[in-house]
Amino acid sequence: MVVDGIGASVKRKEDLRFLSGRGNYVDDMNRPGQAYAQFLRSDQPHGKINKVDISAALKMPGVVAIFTGDDFAAVGGVPCGWQIHSKDGSPMVEPRHPVLAAGKVRHVGDPIAMVVAETKQQAKDAAEAIVLDIETLPAVAGLTAALAQGAPLVHDEAPGNVCFDWHIGDKAAVEAGFAKAHKIVRLDLINNRLVPNAMEPRAAIGDYDVSSGEYTLYTTSQNPHVIRLLMGAFVLSIPEHKLRVVAPDVGGGFGSKIFHYAEEAALTWAAGKLQRPIKWTADRTEAFITDAHGRDHISTAELALDAEGHFMALKVNTQANMGAYLSTFAPSVPTYLSATLLAGVYKTPAIYAEVKAVFTNTVPVDAYRGAGRPEATFLVERIVDVAAREMNMDKVEIRKKNFIPKEAFPYQTPIALQYDSGDYMATFDGCLKAADYAGFEARRRASAAKGKLRGIGISTYVEACGIAPSAVAGALGARAGLYEVANIRVHPTGSVTVFTGAHSHGQGHETTFAQLVSEQLGVAHDMIDIVHGDTGKVPFGMGTYGSRSLSVGGSAMVKAMDKIIAKGKKIAAHLMEADVHDIEFKDGKFSVMGTDKAKTFGEIALTAYVPHNYPIEELEPGLEETAFYDPKNFTYPGGCHIAEVEIDPDTGTVSMLNFTAVDDIGRVINPMIVEGQIQGGVAQGIGQALLEHAIYDESGQLLSGSMMDYTMPRADDIPNISVGTEVTLCTHNPLGSKGVGEVGAIGSPPAVINAVVDALRDYGVRHVDMPATPAKIWAMIEAYQPKMAAE
């Protein structure tokens, strides 16, 4: 009956406005009487601000006001939303992050002054007229430099530049496993620093209504309610009922638009001071030096194996770059979002991980698509491949030997998480078949005949998303709940508006969520509207990140619709003079079981708003329900990714030939959208593995600071991406869904690097750090000396 419900590849509703240029992104919006802001930013990685001379700039045409750090002395700092405690129980070092730099600048891009002028160009011109006297201080950019003895300090209150020194797992059990091991495999890995580069640069408009005293912030955010909470409560002391945050169409996020940024607070505060709207749009250069970066971990991993190749224990030591200040979720990324996943899909009985978080004079680092899980997956899937080779085992066999079997679910890992469901053998076998793994050797020979080196790489992974059970997250350091909210408003004529706290910035929520409503209430798509991204309309919400929109936000909708149906049954029972227990709701109709008596959904809706014949004594009029859904556990998508590459030994160039993914993401609502999510994630993973790298020089200057220097994946860098799914349902949410937003970026990087290393197997190459650029590979091939390696 429901043709556009769960499981249908419904074409996207949002496409019509995006394809015809009628999207409504923040920079497309203008408020009456608005002024424009330009931020003057530090071009120095570290320095003492002696003087900011704005006198000449103030005289420039069109200048309305110029603000500096001193103006923000009385407001709060930009807060961090997650607190980690060190091994010794002490809380992480949490230095103040001023809205505009106060006293010191700590990274290139740190804002020093905000110029407000009548036009964008006038604001830019005036910013250039500000005279800065900044005394250069020695800086640290990389992890190793920051941790070196006597290194310059980013913050005086963080000795040794250490933010926290954390650990998890059973160290004694791991040591016991190592003592009994047949072999210990050790691997040093770098997880390369990335720039998220959503195609829409960040933008914001601060607005203040003198009549109501209400502030409005229009911003490029994945979670407007979170911004309202962080900025209102912690920075500007504006109560929620006087602060509205609107995130309209947002042009991609990938994590970088989760966080509360200083510019949002500066614009909102200044709009109140100047009593007029102020608009700011980042250019791409600003995005490179202010959007939170991703990854940037250095790890050492040691895996103990018995003589048959069973994993006995895993020990990991990670250093994680936090940048100059703690961004919103930064401390959670290398810890509870990464180290807890080190079991991967394997039944390794003992795991111990240490994570040292480090301040540097670089842009803050925080969650980027996958957030911690790509780092864990890269580490585990690389060391498994190295172990297979050093144990002379087949890389398929070693994985299968160590998989958590499907009978073992729910499976308690030794490192906090309990996986609810999965079938890793099914996704693995499905992917091996889809990738024609069996036929690879013939393809390798064909490449060799052309003088090319062909390699195949496997990654079998699991990740934890659907973030998150509030009590668990709270116990782990989250300073907020992580439930989701849905309000379902059935209108008198039977059309439906869904207000969701999730936010769509490419995911197609307006379509997928409408499919949920269509499925459950039997309402046609053109009678359903999905409203998101406005704290003035949506009761509450925690937003979209951690692949949570469907499994948490969608579950809230299901719960709210359950309430709608329950109330509708009472109304129907009254109208049809039947017992409420005899009413069933199916295909958009309330009927009395065993009879032909029925009322349509629309008739019940109208009755709820025109209650002439209505059980008014026991039931309120109206048909609108709200549900808060707090998940009982994380969700655990998993699967297998297989990459096939060909290397030209003369140039070191890697060509991506094939990429095959078979993922278990639980219940699929819209297969077309799911495929697109996985393909996009895989492309970002290929970008990390082969192309992308945010490189700082020793002094703290970002060398790959523009799209001319930072290698974004282009159409001819990415192959066709074959996507398949195998489904085991999530056991603890009403939809059985697990999440799909990040799996592509989590599973793919080790598949690509394993393929590159496989292609280079005759050149004594054991490991290649990302990105596997032609220069790096060419140098490895050139450095290879057959006699020395033929041991």
């Binding site: 074409k11 394809l19 240029g21 920079d27 959503a198 195609m199 959208i673 996009g680 492309a683 159409a715």
Partner: protein, 165 residues
């Protein structure tokens, strides 16, 4: 300040602009055609692609005064008078070739130019090479390539000579 007159999406337009004003700034800020987007500052991303006198142009790399007297077509001008979509727009929707929608207008304008300038047919490799000037962070390009391959026969009113799956 210079006064310029041009035709945009078939309609006459005029504006007073600073000499340094870019064509994309004219379109977005003065003419309120916000479908054309700005995604970078180094003419790498192609989000601002429009057609000027029938040629595909990154409107961030051209001054507004250089468009004086020109005929400019933007994403807003592609939709037919009856509200129906251009075949390229329709195929982007059919093949889920867009997610966040931000690169989409520039991608569609570039794709139309690519198809129009290749009446002899387009291989998958040619499509991928032809998209080098346009960045998309969401889709991984897979479905954009499919959409363009599917639009080719519709725009040239014939069957596609090269299969591009």
């Amino acid at each position: 300040m210079p006064q310029i007159s041009l035709t945009v999406n078939g309609k006459p337009a005029s504006a007073t602009v600073e000499a340094r004003t870019l064509l994309v700034e004219l379109l977005r800020d003065k003419l309120h055609l916000t479908g054309t987007h700005v995604g970078c500052d180094t003419s790498q991303c192609g989000a601002c692609t429009v057609q000027v006198d029938g040629m595909s142009v990154k409107s961030c790399s051209m001054l507004a005064v250089q468009a004086d007297g020109a005929n400019v077509l933007t994403i807003e001008g592609l939709v037919n008078a009856d509200g129906s979509l251009h075949p390229m727009q329709a195929m982007f929707r059919e093949h889920h070739a867009l997610q966040c929608g931000y690169c989409t207008p520039g991608m569609v304008m570039s794709a139309i130019d690519l198809v129009e300038t290749h009446p002899e047919g387009l291989s998958e490799a040619q499509i991928r090479h032809g998209l080098e000037g346009n960045l998309c962070r969401c889709t991984g390009y897979h479905n954009i390539v499919k959409a363009i391959a599917a639009a080719w026969p519709l725009m040239h009113d014939k069957a596609l000579p090269v299969a591009a799956e």
